[in-house]
Structure formats: structure tokens, C-alpha cells
Subunit: 193 residues, 2 copies
């Protein structure tokens, strides 16, 4: 199989980004993650943090009314403008070089390409709660609640722009539970593909 490009979707706190970096290192290719936000920010003029939040704070209740007729809607929302920059940038990256792309619905954006391996990384709640405290230093009383909220937002954003269910195995070629398999084994396994 000749997958030049690996896209990694992931649950918040699962370590999908870490797996992306390690896999890219192993294969000697670049890994794009926050770099995508930086470049969209540069091109669009929106602040990076604003773009990042756009990817999470999309509210399904508010937007679902727009969904069915968004193509008839006069003018574009900021979300839509950012989405178009994001889509164009990810398509350009895929055209240009072998790489690993983390998040930003890259799996969906590149779904028509044969040379893409679509990966989803997830982990149980306990693993993720421990990890966001250890790695990000988030010392909230209830990290589980924060994780559920983050997942909910990511799922809403994904579903809005792709009309597919986030986390459904059938949207990906390989889905791995890193809390069961461990980082090393996930990277080994993806590297072999």
C-alpha cells in the first residue's frame, strides 16, 4: 500500500498528536498540527486562538438550522471562511509532500485521495483524565467533565462540516485505543502500514 499521507483524528487527551509526531519522525516526514492554525491565521488575518476555538465551539443547536440551506445563505460566516482556508491548505499540503496531518478534519478533506491512510486515536476516560493533568497540567476538580465537553464540541464541529459521525470506525482505515495498546505499539503498527 502506498499511503503517502497519514491523517490522525483523535479524542482530546488521547495523545493522538504525540503519536502523529512520533510517526512522522519515524518516517522522516513533517507533521502538521498547530502549523496549520498558524498558516490559516497568516492567510486569513484571524487570530490563531480564534481559529482554534472555531474548531471547538461550533454549537450544533445553533448551527443545525443553517445546515440544510447553508449553500443558499448570502455571504459566509467566519467559520465558513476559516473552513475554506483550512480545506485549501490541507489539499495543498497533500499535493506537495508526504506528511502526517493531525486533526482539522483532514481525513474528510482528503477523502477522495487514494494515497491517504485515515487514522483515529482514542483512549478510555481514565487514561485521558490522567494525561491532561500530567501533560497539560490541568488541575481541575473534574477533568472527566472537561473531556466530555471537549469531545462533544469536536464531534459537533466534525459533523457540521463533514456530515459524518466523528469517531465512527467506518470513517477511518485504522482506529486504535492507545490506553490499551500503548504509544510505542501504536506507532510501530502505523509505521508498518
Amino acid at each position: 500500500m502506498s499511503s503517502r499521507i497519514v491523517t490522525i483524528g483523535r479524542e482530546f487527551g488521547s495523545g493522538g498528536r504525540t503519536i502523529g509526531r512520533l510517526l512522522a519522525q519515524r518516517r522522516g516526514v513533517p507533521c502538521y498540527d498547530r502549523e496549520i492554525l498558524e498558516e490559516i491565521s497568516e492567510k486569513s488575518g484571524f487570530a490563531q486562538q480564534y481559529i482554534e476555538e472555531m474548531g471547538e465551539y461550533t454549537q450544533p443547536g445553533f448551527l443545525s438550522g443553517l445546515f440544510s440551506n447553508r449553500f443558499y445563505y448570502q455571504g459566509q460566516s467566519n467559520e465558513d471562511i476559516i473552513w475554506l482556508y483550512q480545506r485549501q491548505l490541507i489539499q495543498e499540503l497533500a499535493e506537495r509532500e508526504s506528511c502526517v496531518i493531525v486533526g482539522r478534519c483532514a481525513d474528510y478533506i482528503l477523502q477522495d485521495r487514494e494515497d491517504v491512510l485515515r487514522v483515529f486515536i482514542h483512549a478510555d476516560l481514565e487514561f485521558r483524565a490522567r494525561r491532561i493533568v500530567d501533560v497539560y497540567g490541568q488541575r481541575e476538580a473534574a477533568p472527566e467533565q472537561r473531556l466530555r465537553e471537549k469531545d462533544r464540541r469536536r464531534a459537533a464541529y466534525y459533523q457540521f462540516y463533514t456530515d459524518m459521525r466523528w469517531g465512527d470506525a467506518r470513517n477511518y482505515h485504522v482506529s486504535l485505543d492507545v490506553s490499551k495498546l500503548g504509544f510505542e505499539r501504536c506507532v510501530d503498527l502505523l509505521s508498518d502500514l
Copy 2:
């Protein structure tokens, strides 16, 4: 990791059963699939075909009304009796020996065991349509329609008895698209785990 038992959930026509057999051969352990139906039939007195159909013809519309109060329901339906036999048998198998178990919600039934690797096998519609014609000799005008119907039924049965979403990556440790990866690579990969 010491996964003595591998459970394989799968989309109809994806070849999950074939992967289960090959994996079991490779590891030198038994693979349980239709044997489970046979044993439930023997113990319960229900015909094998009836048991098989029970696992597919559960209608979410009809049953959803029963779901919330099924534990208060006087007496048990045939579906429930079969479910109890199935659950007991799968728990006994897992207790007794290392093995591969295909389908029958074994992933859910054994979810509290640490020594289980939960696998989901899926494939794109084109691959599965070609496969049910080639392997099962089904020469219907619209195999895709039959596949969608089968998936819908499997998902309804799974959701009814497990209250989890069939095909959601987060219910499994490893999910693989066999139409992308091929049989050989899927078996290699699972065998390494």
C-alpha cells in the same frame, strides 16, 4: 499485553469471519462463530436458524418501547432467553481457553475482562458488495441495498442489548478497514498484538 481472547465485530460481507479464522489458525487457538449458534441451539432447544435470525431481525422501532422498562417486564421474550444463553456461553468460553470469538456481541459481554482484545472489521460498500456476490454467490440486483439492510439490523440488535453504538471506534481497541489494508495485513497486524 496479554490478550488471551480476541473478539471480532464486523460489518456484513467485510470478511471479519475469515480474518477471525486466519488469526486463530496463526495463533493456534480455536475460533468460535457458528459453533456458538450450534451450542445455544442445543441448550435452548431453539432452531439454529431462528437464533441466527434473532440476531438480525430485532426491529428498533418495535423494541425501543420495551427497552426502558424491560427489567420490569413479566416473563422473558425468546430474544431475551437466547441472549442469556449466549452471554453465559461466551463467558464460559472466555474462562476456559484462549480463543477468537466472532460476532454475537462478545465484545460487550466480555467488556470487564482485562485479557480481551476487542476488534472491529469493516470495509467499503463496493468491496463488500463484490464479496457477497463472489463468496456467498448472492446474485441480487442490488447487493448494496442488502448490505445496508443487514448493517441496519446488526446495529439495532447490538444497540438494543448493549446500549452502545455499533461501529463506534471507541467500543473497540482496534478497528481495521480490510478493503484498504487487505486480509493478509489485517491478520499480520492482529497477530502481532
